[in-house]
């Protein structure tokens, strides 16, 4: 099911580059606060200069079209920071860390054209100026991105390979082999679920549950096959699929997975996307794994749970050094909570997989749920901390 935060969706405040924006850190403190009035023809900034450091622009849309505010570099092209999607009458903040230099401010009512009211904006030298991201941090960001892109590629490769074997066994009518391959293959999907969900209708075609479908909608993907493989749990009314139906479902599964591989090739991820990806994966756990809804017939939910946690932990590990530098207590807390959730999962290992969801006691399910909440509260602060 789609996460609250599909990984590649644009955030309200888009963060560009490594020296770009700081997160909105609230109205308190010494941050110089500037106001911007964006109308159909004007883009009036309350001051045309500010000392270097963290600067907040509160952009008010006084026009009747959706507007955007851009802070551009001295070439009037490079985007240093932007706020998009400001509806008429609304205010949105852009908080940026700026070095001394010349910049340009401009508004884009209607979200098109070259912008109106473009004006120079001077940032004067200041002792309060925050240092630019160090070369170390920049390297950390770059290596996190490279490492995550490689992880996605690797997981998709394993998914493609496992799906081929699973589809072959299912088509051949070797149900036992297909059942054995089901959870170990799907875990590769679950590890990168928030990436996979970014590609339009691929997610519903591969991962829709029966309850997600509209009346009369065709059902394809993993869960359609799951119901057939665990027909014994599907109720007396369920008719097993014909050999032709099986072959078609298997063919489609392989083809859609190949499409996914093509789209996942060469992706690049911003800091915010990586942090939001970790958050999104945990939301997946909290939403459908903790309740046993995801694997309604096979009850292999804990394997999916492990996959989501694996993916979230990989994303967090990539960002961890940045978190340690900015808010060590958060890193400490996240380390402890990830370890605690893993300990609960380890206690449910059975053979190559996990205890079926239906084999968990209510107390065990509650322990998982409590621990997902315990991890989720600090993890949901990750984005604001790493981009802040």
């Amino acid at each position: 099911m789609p996460a609250r935060l599909p990984l590649l969706a644009a955030a309200a405040v888009t963060l560009l580059g490594l020296t770009g924006c700081a997160a909105d850190d609230g109205p308190s403190g010494d941050t110089p606060a500037l106001t911007v009035e964006s109308s159909a023809t004007e883009c009036t900034v309350s001051a045309d200069e500010a000392p270097a450091g963290t600067i907040r622009f509160t952009v008010h849309n006084a026009g009747d079209q959706v507007t955007e505010f851009y802070l551009l570099g001295d070439d009037k092209l490079r985007i240093v920071g932007e706020v998009e999607n400001i509806g008429p009458g609304l205010s949105r903040d852009l908080v940026v860390q700026l070095q001394a230099g010349t910049y340009y401010t401009t508004c884009k009512p209607g979200m098109q054209g070259d912008g109106v009211g473009t004006a120079p904006f001077t940032v004067t030298p200041s002792t309060a100026a925050a240092p630019d991201l160090s070369a170390d941090t920049a390297a950390q960001v770059e290596s996190a991105n490279t490492a995550y892109a490689a992880y996605v590629t690797e997981e998709v490769e394993q998914l493609v390979e496992g799906t081929a074997r699973f589809a072959a066994a299912y088509t051949a009518g070797d149900d036992e082999a297909a059942r054995d391959l089901y959870a170990p293959t799907r875990i590769h999907w679950e590890r990168i679920e928030t990436v996979a969900e970014s590609f339009g209708d691929l997610d519903p075609r591969l991962d829709a549950r029966e309850a997600d479908l509209a009346e009369g909608e065709a059902w394809t993907g993993w869960h359609a096959i799951e119901k057939d493989l665990w027909a014994g749990n599907a109720g007396a009314d369920f008719e097993r699929y014909s050999a032709d139906q099986r072959a078609e479902l298997a063919r489609q599964l392989v083809a859609d997975t190949a499409t996914l591989q093509g789209k996942a090739e060469g992706l690049s991820f911003t800091l915010a996307q990586q942090a939001n990806g970790a958050i999104g994966l945990l939301d997946e756990v909290a939403g459908s794994k903790i309740s046993g809804e995801e694997e309604f017939w096979s009850h292999t939910d804990l394997s999916d749970f492990q996959g989501n946690i694996d993916g979230a932990r990989v994303l967090y590990q990539g960002l961890r050094e940045i978190v340690v530098a900015k808010e060590p207590a958060l890193a400490e807390q996240l380390d402890a909570e990830f370890a605690a959730v893993q300990a609960l999962l380890e206690a449910q290992r059975a053979g190559d997989g996990f205890t079926p969801y239906t084999g968990l006691t209510p107390a065990e399910v509650k322990a998982f749920s409590d621990q997902v909440n315990a991890l989720g509260e600090p993890l949901n602060r990750l984005t604001s901390v790493v981009v802040g």
Binding site: V13, D24, G26, S28, D370, A374, R381, G388
Partner: protein, 433 residues
């Protein structure tokens, strides 16, 4: 006379104070010292005077005693019992109580929690406050925290938080009473929070945010919504009715009775461990009513079971609601107030003068699998010693005619620490070296 809001002005933390910056409160809260019951009364008087605007009233969070006990019973309840998380430490518990203190002081004053509240924070972070109380007044919100027996010593005997030596001897699981059908999942708990307000959304907002703050340190074990108060704790309030349709709590301990709270509600210095002086004991009982059966019993039986008239609430021995019952007054076949009448068995005269401060709420949690309303009374009482409740309940459980129509399905006992001094936190004396 003070306006209700003034009672809390002194306790307002400056905006922007960190959730963890608790000790910074000391200066700001100075004027709140010694508010205690007096503060409650001032607010109470103002609330009573300002009929129609009572939802706007705010009660002081800081004081000698916790609010929400002798405070005039608000209309709505959200009560939650928590268990500390496996592996949590004494420091986790202390931090949790500090965080709860700061958030409770903000919410009872009608403010959002956190530095930025519900709508002022970073776009890339979840809002600190959940936001459903934005724009709503304090609504008389009180937050009252208690400590269960298992906080001091787990059921397996372990002393998780180094508190076993501080456990009051009386703080144990309540004894089994005849007829108890207790459900484990609705009973007990390491900690409890009673949130009462005149707006249900404000009460729910309080529990929601306090449980969110607790994630990773404590989790809700059970919780209960109550939609109508069944007791009056002040002579300024009309006596409310329970779901049997009868007035309840006529002979309650009232805030205006001189000395009554000290005698019946507050643990006095020298009784038990020092940290509990100025505190109380909270008994919570989820009492399911079989109201369908009750509703088809004839009026004379209903009145005989309760011992009062249904309309006025007068004792069957005569007079009006507040007339003292005459338990000896006989009719043609025995006393007018029968030997098994609920009011007789619960009355102080039949219980060695014991009184409880009752603060219960009606609940209807949808329906059961048979289509019967899952209705009842969420009984809450505060007392100086659990022995008071045990004595009365033993009397009731053995003989009360009302037992035909009720089932006790949940039970818990908590020690309620005294009020919080500005700059300190809930239960701080318990952790003093």
């Amino acid at each position: 006379m003070a306006e209700p809001s003034e009672a809390t002005d002194a306790a307002q933390a400056p905006r922007g104070l960190s959730r963890r910056g608790l000790l910074g409160l000391a200066g700001a809260g100075l004027a709140g010292l010694g508010v205690g019951v007096a503060g409650d009364r001032a607010a109470l008087a103002a609330t009573a005077a300002a009929t129609g605007t009572k939802a706007a009233g705010a009660y002081a969070f800081y004081g000698t005693h916790q609010a929400g006990i002798v405070t005039p019973a608000q209309d709505r309840l959200h009560f939650a019992a928590f268990d500390m998380s496996p592996g949590s430490s004494r420091d986790d518990l202390i931090e949790l109580l500090k965080d709860w203190t700061v958030a409770s002081a903000a919410m009872t004053a009608g403010r959002d929690i956190g530095d930025f509240g519900a709508a002022g924070g970073p776009y890339d972070a979840p809002p600190e406050d959940t936001g459903e109380a934005l724009g709503l007044p304090a609504s008389g919100l009180t937050i009252t925290v208690g400590f269960g027996p298992t906080l001091f010593q787990a059921t397996d005997g372990t002393d998780r938080f180094g508190l076993a030596h501080n456990r009051p001897a009386e703080l144990t699981t309540l004894p089994h009473f005849p007829g108890d059908l207790l459900e484990e999942a609705r009973s007990g708990g390491d900690l409890c929070i009673q949130a009462c307000a005149n707006d249900p959304q404000v009460a729910v907002h309080a529990i929601r945010n306090l449980s969110r703050i607790a994630f990773g340190r404590a989790a809700i074990r059970w919780s209960q919504l109550g939609f109508g108060r069944t007791s009056s704790t002040s002579t300024s309030q009309a006596t409310a009715r329970n779901l049997f349709g009868f007035k309840d709590g006529t002979a309650n301990v009232m805030a205006e009775e001189p000395g009554a709270a000290a005698e019946h509600v507050w643990v006095q210095p020298g009784e038990g461990p020092a940290w509990l002086a100025g505190g109380s004991y909270l008994v919570a009982r989820r009492i399911r009513m079989t109201i369908e059966t009750w509703d088809r019993s004839i009026l004379s039986e209903q009145e005989a079971v309760i011992g009062r008239t249904k309309g006025e609430g007068a004792p069957l021995s005569g007079g009006t609601e507040f007339t003292e019952p005459d338990f000896a007054l006989a009719g043609r076949s025995g006393p007018l107030i029968g030997p098994h009448a609920h009011m007789r068995l619960a009355h102080p005269d039949q219980n060695h003068g014991i009184r409880l401060l009752r603060r219960g709420y009606n609940f209807v949690d949808g329906n059961d699998e048979l289509g019967r309303l899952a209705a009842g009374l969420f009984f809450i009482s505060f007392q100086r010693s659990p022995e008071q409740f045990i004595t009365v309940q033993q009397n009731l459980a053995g003989h009360d005619a009302l037992n035909e129509y009720i089932r006790h399905v949940g039970s818990a006992l908590f020690a309620v620490p005294p009020g919080v001094r500005p700059g300190s936190f809930l239960g701080a004396p318990l952790f003093a070296p």
